[in-house]
């Protein structure tokens, strides 16, 4: 690992000042499960590493306020998986967080870091997109909130500008009843990067949102307002036709070693139908008890 300067700000103001003084050759460290490996492999050679784990404003890592939960930049996958409210309101996020890496990775890796890392295969991206999450960004000009669909740009790229820091992700439980489910395809069970990731949400007004990743430069968010996907009595053929349109942006790489483009497209259809089916079942359970 190349030599770097290590900074550990204790407040958000200090973190912003350190970032401003460091220019572009800086990396932000939270869990470090990607960054430390990248630095060791010399894919990443920052002059300055800013460790944000002791920034006072980023604790506690999970805060509920009414129907909104704020996942600070220090919130780990394990903390998200263990949170009762997130299990109740955002079960697909839990299903995604619980398959990231291994136990030890999840004890360290953060949800915000998963998004800022910008991997097209990031497991938490599809559920956060489908739940309309907001990313909270702090910079020299203050705080801005940006929809996660606009925050995610491409492989390794986000809407984070020089001098800025993503401090949190906000999720608001919708006022409507929503069923949701996350699906992923890997080569083997256990620790593996996903070949296809997909999250579906179905609400009681018949609107379905599907977000899918690992089949192109970024995870895409699509909406079906026709009511066909959400309709438990619609035929598989009718749903398949809608899903074809939704998956039109899939552009899986021919160079990937994990799966061929044809296989990924085929599995996208399977996972899409499966996730919509499970989301409808969960919606019906909610309607049954409400």
């Amino acid at each position: 690992m190349k030599v770097f300067s290590y900074e550990r700000p204790e407040s958000l103001d200090e973190a912003i000042q350190v970032l401003a003084a460091s220019g572009s050759d800086v990396e932000i460290l939270a869990g470090g499960t990607d960054l430390v490996i990248a630095m060791r492999d010399r894919h990443s050679q920052p002059k300055v590493v800013v460790d944000i784990k002791r920034v006072a404003e980023l604790s506690p890592s999970l805060i509920w306020d009414g129907n909104t939960v704020t996942l600070s930049a220090t919130a780990t996958m394990s903390e998200v998986v263990g949170d009762e409210g997130i299990n109740t309101h955002f079960p697909a996020l839990v299903e995604a967080a619980v398959v990231v890496g291994s136990v030890q990775i999840r004890n360290r890796a953060t949800v915000v870091g998963n998004i800022c890392n910008g991997s097209p295969a990031a497991d938490t991206a599809p559920p956060l997109l489908a739940y309309d999450a907001l990313v909270v960004v702090a910079g020299p000009d203050g705080i801005r909130r940006i929809g996660i669909d606009d925050f995610i740009v491409g492989p390794g790229k986000t809407d984070l500008h020089e001098g800025e820091l993503a401090i949190a992700i906000e999720l608001s439980a919708p006022s409507r009843l929503v069923g949701s489910a996350y699906e992923r395809m890997t080569r083997r069970r256990g620790t593996d990067l996903a070949s296809v990731t997909l999250c579906a949400t179905v609400d009681d007004a018949g609107v379905t949102q599907i977000a899918y990743g690992s089949v192109g430069p970024r995870a895409w968010l699509k909406k079906d307002e026709s009511g066909i996907l959400a309709d438990p009595s619609a035929s598989d053929e009718a749903k398949a036709a809608v899903l074809e349109g939704i998956f039109a942006d899939a552009s899986p790489s021919v160079r990937s070693l994990r799966a061929s483009p044809d296989y990924r497209r085929a599995m996208l259809r399977v996972l899409g139908a499966r996730a919509v089916g499970r989301a409808i079942e969960r919606l019906q359970e909610l309607q049954g008890v409400s």
Binding site: K2, V3, E7, T33
Partner: protein, 164 residues
């Protein structure tokens, strides 16, 4: 801006203060600076689990943490498991009794993940043990033996009143 960092941590129950290079991982420091070579270096990319240690009772990969991360925290490695009289930890003893290790290289990591599990769950099912050890690879494929050992250790420790 400094390139070495002063660290104070509790390592295996002892308060330690040392200077580390900013770019050294916890694994580098444990093995090369503190001489604690029970924590194994293997894949070094956070996939195999041979370097698993406990930080404040939670299991982590030492290869993918910078040493700064353990400032003010309690680190436990396999060397810290035996008691003051040198008796093995019940989990270590159970690994021996069940002939769990084959080549033994992944064993310290497997044991540390088992320690983390039994701190949280005194009576795990076989599936829960499998899940808890899923971040620790064993290229000999001795997984079933490890599961037997962890279940035996859990029973031994419950019977001895060491966990509940």
């Amino acid at each position: 801006m400094s390139e070495t960092v002063h660290i104070e941590s509790t390592i295996n129950g002892r308060d330690c203060a040392f200077e580390v290079a900013a770019n050294h991982t916890l694994l580098d420091v444990l093995r090369d600076q503190l001489g604690l070579t029970g924590t194994k270096e293997c894949c070094v990319v956070g996939e195999c689990g041979a370097c698993t240690v406990l930080v404040d009772d939670v299991n982590h990969y030492a290869c993918s943490m910078l040493t700064h991360s353990v400032r003010g925290r309690a680190v436990l490695t396999v060397e810290g498991l035996q008691d003051a009289n040198g008796a093995l930890h019940p989990i270590q003893q159970a690994f021996i009794d069940e002939l769990a290790p084959q080549c033994g290289y992944c064993t310290p990591g497997q044991i540390m993940s088992a320690v983390a599990l039994l701190k949280e769950n005194a009576d795990p099912t076989r599936d829960e043990v499998r899940h808890a050890l899923s971040g620790n690879l064993c290229r000999c494929g001795a997984y079933d033996h490890y599961l037997n050992a962890v279940l035996r250790a859990a029973a031994d420790m419950r019977n001895a009143g060491q966990i509940a």
